[in-house]
Each structure stands twice: as C-alpha cells, then as structure tokens.
Subunit: 145 residues, 2 copies
C-alpha cells in the first residue's frame, strides 16, 4: 500500500469511520490518479473492479474525505452555476462575501512571476487563471458581532 494511501486510511480510522472494501477501493482510485474526477467518473472506475458498488457510496465517501480535508475540489472547467455582471470588461477578479454573496471586483492580480515559475517547473503551457478572495463584507462583519 502506498504511503499516502495508508495516511488516508489512518485518518478515516482515527475519526471513527469503518474501513469497508468499498471505501478502500474509492481511496485507492483517488490516490492512484493524477486527474481530478467527478463522482460519476470515480464510480465508473471503481465499478470496473467492484461492479456491485452503488453510486451513493461514492458520494458518501467523497463527503467524508472532503470533511476530513483529505481531498481538494477543482473548479477549472466546471461550473458552480452562479453569475455576476462583468463590470470592468478588462481582466479582473472577485472578492466575495461568504455570508451575503456580495462581490467586489478588483484588478491588478499580477501573477505573471508565479506563472512563469510554474511554467518552467512543470512544462505546462499556462493559458488562464482563476483567482477569488473569500471573506466577510463590512455589513456582514457588523452583523456577526
């Protein structure tokens, strides 16, 4: 068993979750791919070796792994289905209030240095980036007191 796999398994155990063969397989699959996977893509892979598994089990296992912060969510390419007027038409990003959903735009991200470093280190041809800051707007800060 890979070291990282053992770590995930141990974390599950430590939090009192049982280690079922289904969960083992989900973990094995997640550990052994470099790609991000949707619940359904994951289901299809696990299903190959364990045809009896239910899609719900995938959802439930992902839920636990997310709660224990053992997996990350990827946004690029997908859609969270929430939209906003593009106020400055130029390149900009958002500062978002997690409480009320208010959005403030900002320009001047300057990630070019980081981008160049990553390009060199990984060989990726970088085309775009996604940057958001999450916090509380002034109004929601006051309400929280």
């Amino acid at each position: 068993m890979k070291l990282i796999e053992r770590e995930v398994v141990t974390a599950l155990r430590r939090h009192g979750y049982k280690l079922t063969p289904q969960r083992r397989l989900v973990i094995q699959t997640v550990v052994s791919t470099q790609n991000h996977l949707t619940p359904i893509a994951l289901y299809e892979r696990v299903h190959q070796v364990y045809p009896n598994i239910g899609l719900v089990t995938i959802y439930r296992t992902l839920e636990i792994l997310a709660k224990l912060k053992l997996i990350c969510e990827v946004h690029a390419g997908g859609s969270c289905g929430s939209y906003l007027l593009k106020r400055p038409l130029e390149h900009h990003h958002h500062l978002i209030c997690s409480e009320c959903g208010a959005v403030v735009d900002f320009t001047g991200c300057d990630l070019s240095q980081l981008e160049q470093r990553l390009s060199l280190e990984t060989g990726f041809e970088i085309n775009d980036h996604l940057l958001e800051f999450i916090g509380l707007c002034q109004a929601c800060q006051k309400e929280a007191t």
Copy 2:
C-alpha cells in the same frame, strides 16, 4: 437606463440577438445587483415582476451573456463537483490541464500583499482564497501539434 445596462443591450443587438422584454428584465436584474446569482435565484427575482417568464429563458439568456462575456462566473461557496487527493496537506494550489484533467500541485502562492491591499481598500475581512492555473500539460501540448 443605467449606462452599463445600455452597454449590455447594445452588445446583444450588435450580435444579432433580439431584445425581448424578458431579456431586458434579466439584464436589468443582473445589472442592479452586487451579488452573484444562480439561474434559479435570478428566476425568482424576475418572476416577481414578470410572473409568466419561464426558467428556460433565464438559462438561455445567461448562456448568451456568458458567450458574449458580459457576465462572470463565481465559484466561491459553490461546487464544481470534481475532486482530487490532497497530496501535500499544507496550503497549496493547482495547475490544471484543460485537455486531460491532469493536476499538478504547487505551494508558495504568496498573495498576502494583494490580500492586505484589498482588505484596506474594501473593508472586507478576508479568510480564504481560491487560485488555479489552467493550461496544457506537456503530453497534451505534443498531441495538439
């Protein structure tokens, strides 16, 4: 009519889309809120003043506005439903191949200066950030030739 609203309307016209009362209302609503909205939240608002509107019209209008790049998508708080093992448990981000979904992790984002600037400028209390780079991995670059 607000200046920005007129700009959106003009852009629609310029691309040959008809200006229906339904579209006007969707645009008005998007223009007049600082919050990001889901299709359904938008539907509920427009529905108040135009009870006959269909949810499909909201979807279709958003689709057009997105294609013309007149709206932005927001990810914070939502879920794109794609997951990945958290390989370094420390704070890190992702470099994602838009072609094959391969993900490379990187650390050292250093956004603290930008974060501080935004905090001062907007009064937000910033708690988190979302950062992803999107591009083509080496393998997919070769395939593209």
